[in-house]
Symmetry: C2
Subunit: 176 residues, 2 copies
DNA sequence: ACCTGAACACCGTTCAAGT
DNA sequence: ACCTGAACACCGTTCAAGT
């Protein structure tokens, strides 16, 4: 037995994190595995399914006691791998609601609160990752080069911004 | 003068609406225009720029007096063309904040309120469009076939769901 | 200015065939 | 069961050349 499905998923996540979603092709995953592209189809029916399996892996272990904790945990899971928010958001649209995460949230804040929190969390994470990549090679207007070089200022402000938006939604949920 | 940049954008939007983002390739836009693929590069530097121009066109005319009206107007613009939410969300990430729409919102509800509302509106619209497409050929679990056939029930519930989430965020914003 | 034709370096996926 | 090799129908983009 040369490779297993778990090997394929792990290799795909490595390629994703190193090169980004745009270059995470079946052919590249295959070559990262030292195998022909066609070999992947023995483990996975198609690319869409592979992306869904990657998404499951990315959000595996997300948890928390309250709504805010759950959202923070989800957010940090999405930000842990390059383009993670994109991968999970796209895949979650097909497999309804990110692996029961929506149900867990719904139990805490109701279905409307759950979807509102999820849309916000995914949107904010996607925006953060897009900005990160723009800074990586483009020098975004209005960005302090030193702060970018330090690598801490952008994520610090992103964290604070996320908390402020979260507070707004939670305040709205409390009003009933 | 055979074709202008506006012709290219219009053709691209037609292809998008008929076939979806997945099949909205430079080659298909070219053939919709009766022209060779390479001809497009006389009007547009690359595909990413064409998508940004399409996004500008999609949200052209979005407006409103208050935050809720602005969000509703944006939402209906996104839903008016197939995969519109995806196209605008991706392009808006590069050209900051959907053509000053974020600034307009920020003036009404502050910067955190603006981004929270935008993340929510884009996320909800994307989810609605993904569901629509799943229903189009896959029969989503838990969906009433008659309601799908009628074509009104899904969008009616989507509208109501959008309003409920909007209310939550606006209530949270009012609390300050 | 606008377009053609040909090429380059890629894609996802299928399928017979090997071990 | 797992993989190779070759093929098919696509991509985005470049570039010389035509009118």
């Amino acid at each position: 037995m040369r490779n297993t499905r778990a090997d394929v998923i792990a290799a795909a996540l490595r390629v994703l994190d190193e090169h980004g979603l745009e270059f995470c092709s079946m052919r590249r995953v295959a070559s990262a595995l030292g195998v022909q592209p066609s070999a992947l189809y023995h483990h996975v029916p198609d690319k869409q399914t592979l992306l869904a399996l990657m998404a499951d892996e990315i959000i595996r272990g997300v948890g928390g006691d309250d709504a805010a904790g759950l959202c923070r945990s989800l957010r940090s899971a999405l930000l842990a791998v390059r383009d993670g928010a994109d991968v999970v958001a796209t895949a979650a649209a097909f497999r309804l609601g990110a692996s029961g995460l929506e149900q867990r949230l719904a139990r805490l804040v109701g279905p409307d609160g759950a979807s509102t929190l999820l849309f916000y969390t995914f949107g904010h994470a996607q925006s953060t990752q897009t900005r990160r990549q723009a800074e990586r090679f483009g020098a975004l207007p209005g960005t302090d080069p030193d702060a970018v070089a330090a690598g801490s200022a952008p994520s610090q402000e992103a964290d604070a911004s996320f908390e402020r938006g979260l507070d707004i939604i939670l305040a709205g949920l409390g009003r009933r």
